[in-house]
């Protein structure tokens, strides 16, 4: 296993970075390029940029900000938001993104995963899943960018993970919705269940509030841990976090 990855996630709206609590009440936290540069300099291993309203508004993300980011950083980054066709993905990759992350459009048309994996390789195709614990099971939610449009996708999370892996998804970002933005820790049981259902890397997402939350996710087998609030609000420094994880005996890139 490579070094455990620390992945700041930047939610993007109109080319600006925003952050919400439980997917609501988004506030502007700054310029996208400034954030990208800052995180790369601080030792982030990878970045993810989500255009949070693209899918709900039925459009693809704007490649112009993808190119602005690609110019300034020398670490990998994934982009997400309304990528619903081979051409949408090609535009993002041509603009300099390393991976595309798909979520709602893959639920609408699972063959999209197969197409992207065939044409660009599995290592370019990340499947984002918004998953909710419900009555001892895990279910997939869709169109989560806006609370008014969020709905059940009609799928169990573990079945969806298996199907997506079969179709060629190269990585899973598991976002446990109930925990998002509330900083009480990743949902470890949930994350473990998904790791057991797939052979591809799984990135834990949703709920990070303290360094030991990251340790817990990595001990559970996550390849990476994604967080937004704690990094945007400077509650945790990435270098400090890596020192802590190193002291816990985990391999991190420093």
């Amino acid at each position: 296993m490579p070094a455990r990855r620390i992945i700041p996630c930047l939610d993007v709206r109109d080319g600006r970075v925003v952050k919400g609590i439980r997917f609501r009440d988004h506030r502007d936290v700054g310029d996208i390029v400034e954030h990208a540069e800052r995180y790369a300099a601080e030792g982030a291993d990878e970045l993810v940029f989500y255009d949070i309203t693209a899918s709900a508004e039925g459009r693809s993300l704007d490649p112009s900000w993808v190119r602005r980011i690609a110019r300034v950083i020398d670490i990998p980054f994934a982009v997400a938001g309304g990528i619903r066709s081979r051409d949408d993905a090609a535009r993002c990759l041509d603009a300099g993104a390393d991976k595309v992350s798909i979520n709602s459009p893959a639920l609408e048309r699972p063959a999209l995963i197969s197409t992207l994996a065939r044409d660009f390789g599995s290592q370019c195709v990340v499947l984002g899943i918004d998953s909710l614990r419900r009555e001892g099971d895990y279910v997939v939610k869709q169109y989560t960018g806006d609370v008014a449009t969020t709905r059940d996708a009609g799928r169990g999370t573990l079945d969806w993970v298996r199907e997506a892996t079969e179709r060629g998804a190269g990585e899973i970002v598991l976002n446990c919705i109930a925990e998002d933005g509330v900083r009480t820790g990743y949902d470890i049981a949930h994350t473990k269940a998904v790791i057991a259902a797939t052979t591809v890397p799984v990135i834990a997402s949703g709920g990070a509030g303290a360094p030991d939350h990251f340790r817990d996710a990595f001990e559970a087998g996550a390849s990476g841990a994604l967080a937004a609030t704690v990094f945007h609000d400077r509650l945790i420094g990435i270098q400090d976090l890596k020192e802590y994880l190193g002291a816990c005996g985990m391999e991190v890139r420093r």
């Binding site: 296993m1 490579p2 070094a3 990855r5 790369a40 291993d45 990878e46 190119r67 690609a70 110019r71 020398d74 670490i75 990998p76 990759l93 041509d94 603009a95 300099g96 993104a97 390393d98 991976k99 065939r118 044409d119 660009f120 390789g121 599995s122 290592q123 370019c124 190269g170 990585e171 797939t198 052979t199 591809v200 890397p201 799984v202 087998g221 390849s223 990476g224 391999e251 890139r253």
Partner: protein, 193 residues
């Protein structure tokens, strides 16, 4: 310096062009044989499937052009794999410049595939600009067999050639354009050996 990036119609040309722009170069993206042959340095990029990439190379009439290049050539990720003899991926024959094959990485508990993320290098040739202990970024499901042409290796279940060199041909399984300072050192060493 004239730098040509071979356009085989797939993948990460955007990110690679930008990395060289950061080093002050103005790369030309081309599939024209004369343009490639007259460049001072040639980059063979590629992400995606080996079968599709080899079809594109043949279809663009570049099979013998690429094999015959005398200037320094750098294959990145799939571009490096294409320099080997054959790939298990769809059983395809590759350029046959470097001895060895490309085989699938097998996942195991605690060792997912694709091999995705930053892995530590063991470096046997400091001329690569890399040093032992550097972390570089990988994203691949197939890997070349380790052999005498490996100049840097990483481990993901087995030893993976991270960088190879044979005569004027250099390969990187990792992504130097996305590997921070270590990646930039590697690219500079390729440009100015």
């Amino acid at each position: 310096m004239k730098l040509a990036i071979v356009d085989i119609g797939c993948g990460n040309i955007g990110a690679i062009s930008i990395a060289f722009e950061r080093l002050g170069l103005d790369p030309i993206v081309s599939s024209d044989a004369a343009t490639i042959q007259s460049a001072d340095r040639v980059i063979l990029p590629g992400v995606g499937a080996a079968g599709h990439a080899m079809e594109q190379i043949r279809w663009r009439g570049l099979f013998f052009v690429l094999r015959g290049l005398k200037q320094p050539v750098l294959g990145i990720c799939l571009g490096m794999q294409l320099m080997f003899e054959a790939s298990e991926e769809a059983g395809v024959h590759c350029l046959g410049i470097i001895p060895g094959r490309v085989t699938k990485l097998e996942p195991a508990p605690g060792r997912p595939v694709p091999h995705m993320g930053w892995s530590r290098l063991d470096v046997s040739d400091p001329g690569t600009g890399l040093k032992t202990g550097d972390y570089v970024y990988f994203a691949h499901s197939y890997a070349c067999t380790d052999g005498p042409h490996s100049v840097a290796t990483a481990v993901h279940g087995r030893a993976i050639p991270a960088a190879v060199r044979k005569d004027n041909f250099v390969g990187a399984q990792f992504h130097p354009e996305r590997s921070g300072d270590a990646g930039a050192r590697f690219l500079k060493a390729f440009l100015d050996p």
